[in-house]
């Protein structure tokens, strides 16, 4: 493989991993929790910014050309943890306000407003995160200690992302197969009835929102570790919509579907074309790509509203007299 093609695959695989993680987080929030989080991307963004400033070191010094707050030289793993927490904290703050309206579509509108305003503020306030130019020169995780060549390092980072995907999958799987998630789904179906059964719906929505926000931030931190730069251009509200497309196509409420959807839509249809090392990308081509994407969503919601892999029907085994006693827990079954 030529270097260009190796880069192509390294980029695609890294992005795929990041997108799968993000799609799981959004699926938890919207597919399972029914929260129309149109501000999703700002949580990925806060993770990326946090990881960036925490590893870039204090502003000034060698990076006088960019200004930002909170610069530090944390080890990457610690920065990753703090970035994840930052996503959770931001989600808590945003959720406390944006989730107050009772109607979920109303919440969605507020979240959309939050997302756009956040982009405007970060762009305008040059002193915070270097405004529209964003941050560049974010150190590559473990790069100095490893001393690998560019391509080797690329494959190494693919490995890091793969580990991250597995870790997030474990967390997501534990959450989504639990009685907790059943109550989350009940809340999605009918929050009023859920409240009548003694579920604290606002508190639970907030939980879902915060967990999703933290995972989104985690994905952002991973992403910035690879691309090394982060600016408002990377997190417009359009990006959130792309992730919605992923989970709608893949199947709302289904983790496998969300992963497949993000690979199909983002990896194949989007990045796969955009990063191909054989032709350059024009405005018109990009515009037509987005038109196609819009039409795909409309077609899916019309012909296959539950996506390629619909939410699974969970069955409960009957306790048998045999040795396999004690399996009366949910068995997922595709139908």
């Amino acid at each position: 493989m030529t270097t260009a093609w190796q880069f192509y695959f390294i980029t695609l695989l890294t992005y795929s991993g990041v997108n799968i993680i993000a799609a799981w987080a959004l699926n938890l929030q919207y597919g399972l929790g029914g929260i129309l989080n149109f501000a999703f991307i700002i949580f990925q963004a806060v993770g990326a910014y946090a990881a960036a400033v925490l590893t870039l070191g204090p502003a000034g010094g060698i990076t006088t050309f960019q200004t930002y707050v909170g610069g530090a030289h944390l080890p990457w793993l610690l920065a990753l943890v703090v970035a994840t927490l930052a996503g959770g904290v931001l989600a808590l703050l945003v959720g406390l306000v944006a989730l107050r309206p009772k109607r979920t579509d109303y919440q969605g509108m507020v979240l959309l407003t939050v997302a756009i305003i956040a982009a405007v503020v970060v762009t305008d306030e040059k002193g915070w995160l270097n405004g529209a130019s964003g941050l560049v020169g974010v150190p590559k995780p473990f790069n100095e200690s490893l001393g690998l060549g560019l391509i080797e390092y690329g494959w190494f980072y693919v490995g890091v992302v793969a580990v991250a995907v597995v870790l997030v999958f474990i967390v997501i799987h534990l959450l989504t197969s639990s009685p907790w998630c059943r109550q989350v789904r009940a809340m999605r179906e009918d929050p009023v009835a859920a409240e009548a059964l003694g579920l604290n719906v606002p508190a639970r929505r907030l939980q879902v929102f915060v967990i999703g926000g933290a995972i989104a931030a985690f994905s952002g931190a991973l992403l910035v570790g690879y691309i090394g730069s982060w600016s408002p251009g990377a997190w417009g509200p359009g990006e959130t919509f792309l992730l919605f497309v992923c989970i709608v196509v893949g199947g709302l409420g289904n983790n496998f579907g969300a992963a497949v959807g993000s690979v199909l839509v983002l990896t194949v249809l989007f990045n796969g074309l955009a990063y191909l090392p054989i032709f350059s990308y024009t405005t018109a081509a990009e515009a037509l790509q987005l038109v196609l994407l819009g039409l795909i969503v409309i077609a899916f919601l019309w012909f296959k509203p539950r996506g390629l892999f619909p939410e699974r029907r969970r069955r409960f085994a009957f306790p048998s007299a045999g040795p396999d006693r004690g399996t009366a827990v949910a068995v997922e079954e595709a139908r």
Binding site: L175, S178, P179, A186, E195, G198, L199, F316, G326
Partner: protein, 269 residues
């Protein structure tokens, strides 16, 4: 079975001695200019079935919404088990053992029937984030117990065969049964049922009546809104007649029948 362990609330939270397990005192509620409730008062004895009747628009649903915490009251008091619960949030009230169903069916459409029931188990192990993260081994046993208990209810309500269907796939009558059995999973002490027989065929309705009577005999308190007077007659120990947001009369069905005012209200309503 249905637990009804008496659990006296903290003595300091007790208000003026209440009559019965549930008492509403002078409840008022306006919607814009409409006086949906205009000073309704009555009480409910523990272990009885109370029928709430009255013409459409009398304020019955509003009363249930207020008692269960879904609508903030204008003024007045709701006293449950010696505790003033006026203005408590809906989920708090449900957790205290005062559980309601809705006039319009409100099944969880994309949860299976048995999942609908399991949702209502209070403090189900594994239903907090931290517990969920501890994995299946932590909550599996409790889950099995709840599944077994849910199956008992499904059997009792004739829903065994539809255990794995989604809520949305049930018939109208089955949805009502699902709602009642789901409410029971929460081990309520008082059950508020808003038109539980609407859309249920008469044979099935009779079976549900039997179940409700059995529940009462086990010590549960039931308040139900119903239009079909036959059912009220067969089921209720006490009947509360509402009209225009107030309580018109209160007593046994026999007493109510004698009451000219009630007859007039119905004819007029």
């Amino acid at each position: 079975m249905i637990a009804s362990e008496s659990d006296p609330a903290g003595a300091d939270r007790r208000v003026q001695p209440a009559a019965g397990i549930l008492e509403v005192r002078d409840l008022h509620k306006d919607f814009g200019g409409v006086h949906a409730l205009a000073g309704a008062s009555f009480y409910v004895e523990q272990g009885t079935i109370t029928g709430l009747i009255g013409p459409n628009g009398a304020g019955k649903s509003t009363l249930i919404n207020l008692v269960s915490g879904f609508t903030p009251p204008g003024s007045g008091q709701v006293v449950y088990d010696g505790e003033d619960i006026t203005g408590h949030s809906a989920h708090q009230i449900a957790r205290l053992g005062l559980v309601r169903t809705f006039q319009l069916s409100s099944e969880f459409a994309r949860l299976t029937v048995i999942e609908n029931l399991l949702t209502a188990v209070p403090d189900q192990r594994g239903s907090t984030v931290l517990a969920a993260l501890r994995g299946k081994r932590y909550w599996r046993r409790a889950e099995e117990e709840s599944v077994a208990r849910a199956r008992e209810f499904l059997g009792r309500f004739g829903l065994t065969d539809v255990e794995d269907l989604y809520g949305a796939e049930l018939s109208g009558g089955q949805k009502r049964l699902l709602e009642i059995s789901r409410a029971l999973m929460g081990r309520p002490r008082v059950l508020l049922l808003d038109e539980p027989f609407a859309g249920v065929n008469p044979t099935l309705a009779r079976e549900v009546e039997d179940i409700l009577r059995a529940l009462r005999d086990e010590g549960m308190t039931i308040v139900l809104v119903e239009h079909e007077m036959g059912a009220i007659d067969r089921l209720c120990d006490t009947v509360v007649v509402m009209a225009a947001g107030t309580v018109l009369a209160e007593g046994s069905m026999a007493e109510i029948r004698e009451n000219q005012e009630v007859v007039d209200a119905y004819l007029a309503g």
